[in-house]
């Protein structure tokens, strides 16, 4: 921005007026933002909070202390749900990759079958997948296929489509067209053009994205149980319903250790891919 404010050949008073105008504009933006924030605080925190119910600082500290009495008897019951959570995340990511193949194909402007129909459809599916929160996806699928791990897998898969296919479509749009033309020139069919011309160019990007998404999906699948879709979330929900706050903390620690594992694995996997 500094480079724009003083171009060579500008008179000094022009520079000064430009700066003053910009400073004025910045002040106006800051004032508007703080006005909006103040109004929001008045409307939500001040008007909507029941301070007496919290019981003051002591009450809050008392609640916190209840969370810190860890319940180690829960520990043996956490292993199987933790493995379930990890599997829901993995299967969901894999299924999401399968679903996002056609979406990325439709949504990439240079390979889409029809720019007027399939391209907007692909873009719309990407936005739809990301705009619905994973909890809502899980609720819809619990209604459709019943309780268990399957709605969790499907919800994680649906939520993954948006990110994976968006990055993939962008990678497809940025490929080098020469290998594609070469394969078409030697007589490759539509599938061979895609498999040998496009896939090798975008594979590292896609693998990195999938690993990143898997890492996020571990967090997501840990809450799928809150709406009845298996894994650690179910244990969390039960402990919360029993008001066993120490158990809740144990479940959170289990989630954290899972995420730590995911973080380490994805770090090394991404290093191996790129």
């Amino acid at each position: 921005m500094a480079a724009v404010s003083a171009l060579p050949g500008m008179r000094i008073d022009q520079v000064v007026t430009g700066r003053r105008r910009r400073r004025y504009k910045r002040w106006m933006i800051a004032a508007a933002a703080s006005l909006v924030i103040t109004l929001c605080i008045l409307d939500t925190i001040v008007a909507d909070t029941d301070w007496s119910r919290m019981g003051g600082a002591l009450g809050i500290l008392g609640t916190l202390a209840r969370y810190l009495q860890l319940d180690f008897s829960l520990l043996p019951h956490l292993f199987v749900p933790a493995v379930e959570t990890l599997m829901i995340a993995t299967l969901g990511t894999l299924l999401g990759c399968v679903f996002s193949l056609p979406v990325a194909w439709f949504g990439a402007a240079n390979v889409t079958p029809s720019i007027h129909f399939f391209y907007p459809l692909g873009r719309f599916l990407m936005v739809l997948s990301r705009s619905i929160h994973e909890i809502i996806w899980a609720l819809l699928f619990v209604g459709a296929v019943g309780l268990g791990a399957l709605p969790g897998i499907l919800a994680v898969a649906m939520r993954s489509i948006g990110f994976i296919s968006k990055i993939t479509a962008e990678a497809i749009e940025n490929i080098d067209p020469k290998p594609v033309e070469a394969i078409r020139a030697v007589g490759g069919n539509q599938f061979q053009v895609k498999y040998y011309g496009i896939v090798p160019q975008i594979l590292p990007v896609i693998l990195g994205t999938i690993i990143f998404e898997w890492d996020i999906n571990i967090r997501r699948s840990a809450v799928m149980g809150l709406v009845g879709a298996g894994g650690l979330g179910l244990i969390f929900f039960r402990q919360m319903a029993m008001f066993n706050y120490g158990g809740v903390t144990m479940v959170i620690l289990a989630v954290l250790s899972l995420i730590l594992i995911g973080e380490i694995v994805s770090h090394y996997a991404r290093k191996a891919v790129i």
Binding site: L91, I136, M240, V255, L256
Partner: protein
């Protein structure tokens, strides 16, 4: 006269049919595929997934949506009570995003490897704060804050704040680690305090990027704000929970459509603003 040199033995043994991977590599790839399939089979049996249902899931979802969720009850979402909750959701996302961004700037400063105040104390503290915000899902934060502070928007705002600290803090820290160290060293060599270094050498370099990230953070926070009400955090999520539990499916459909519409508007608006800011650079 035959002028072509005789083919080397190895080349003669090559298969005539071209394939992308040759013997040892193709075996490894086959083994990898086999391992993935074995893992798939094991986890499907471990999770008790009925594969026949996965095929029927989408037709069934469509059928349920068509028979029970259609037509959406738009009169419900036009009621002033619901519109108030939409406004509250927007306010929660604004406050959570603003608090989160303001908090995550110093935390990202601590957590940036190259300009951190002290590697022993500030760096682990900043990293821990950002990682814990990211690692735990926003719905779990909401439940925790609701159980401590009671139902209402305060819990939702705090949950969104923690979520935004994790989200924006990581992006801010990445941005800070990529800055040009020249101005920083110049100011340090003149004896500036760390705050002066941050204000005059670091902040001007990242201001545009930070603005873009802050807008993006609000976009993501708005998406999360639509569901914090589901667990007692206030906003339209609470209406979603109530209608779902009362099986008022046409109203659920209307609320879902409103959520999709609002999130799309937020996304379009934020990407427009971000592209304008990127051009200002």
């Amino acid at each position: 006269m035959n002028i072509t040199p005789p083919l080397p033995k190895e080349a003669a043994r090559r298969p005539l049919k071209w394939s992308r991977y040759r013997y040892p590599e193709s075996l490894f790839r086959f083994g990898g595929l086999l391992a993935v399939l074995a893992f798939l089979a094991f986890s499907i049996s471990f999770l008790n997934v009925d594969l026949s249902r996965i095929i029927g899931a989408f037709p069934r979802l469509g059928e349920i949506l068509a028979s029970r969720y259609y037509p959406p009850d738009f009169a419900y979402v036009m009621e002033p009570e619901f519109l108030r909750s939409v406004r509250q959701t927007l306010e929660m996302s604004l406050l959570g995003g603003a608090f989160g961004v303001l908090l995550s700037i110093p935390l990202a400063w601590f957590a940036a490897n190259n300009i951190t105040l002290s590697r022993r104390i500030a760096y682990p503290f900043g990293r821990l704060a950002i990682i814990s915000g990211r690692a735990i899902h926003e719905t779990i934060w909401t439940i925790l804050f609701v159980s401590i502070l009671g139902f209402g928007m305060l819990a939702g705002i705090l949950a969104l704040t923690v979520f935004c600290v994790g989200f924006a803090g990581k992006l801010f820290a990445d941005e800070l680690e990529a800055i040009d160290m020249g101005p920083v060293e110049a100011l340090q060599s003149t004896g500036s305090t760390p705050l002066q270094v941050f204000q005059y050498a670091v902040l001007p370099q990242v201001r545009v990027a930070f603005t873009g990230i802050a807008i993006y953070t609000w976009d993501v926070a708005f998406r999360a704000a639509t569901v914090v009400g589901f667990f007692g955090g206030g906003g339209m999520g609470w209406y979603l929970k109530r209608t779902i539990q009362q099986l008022e499916t046409t109203r659920v459909a209307a609320i879902l459509l409103v959520i999709i519409l609002l999130v799309s508007i937020a996304e379009i608006g934020s990407s427009w603003l971000r592209s304008r800011i990127a051009r200002m650079r």
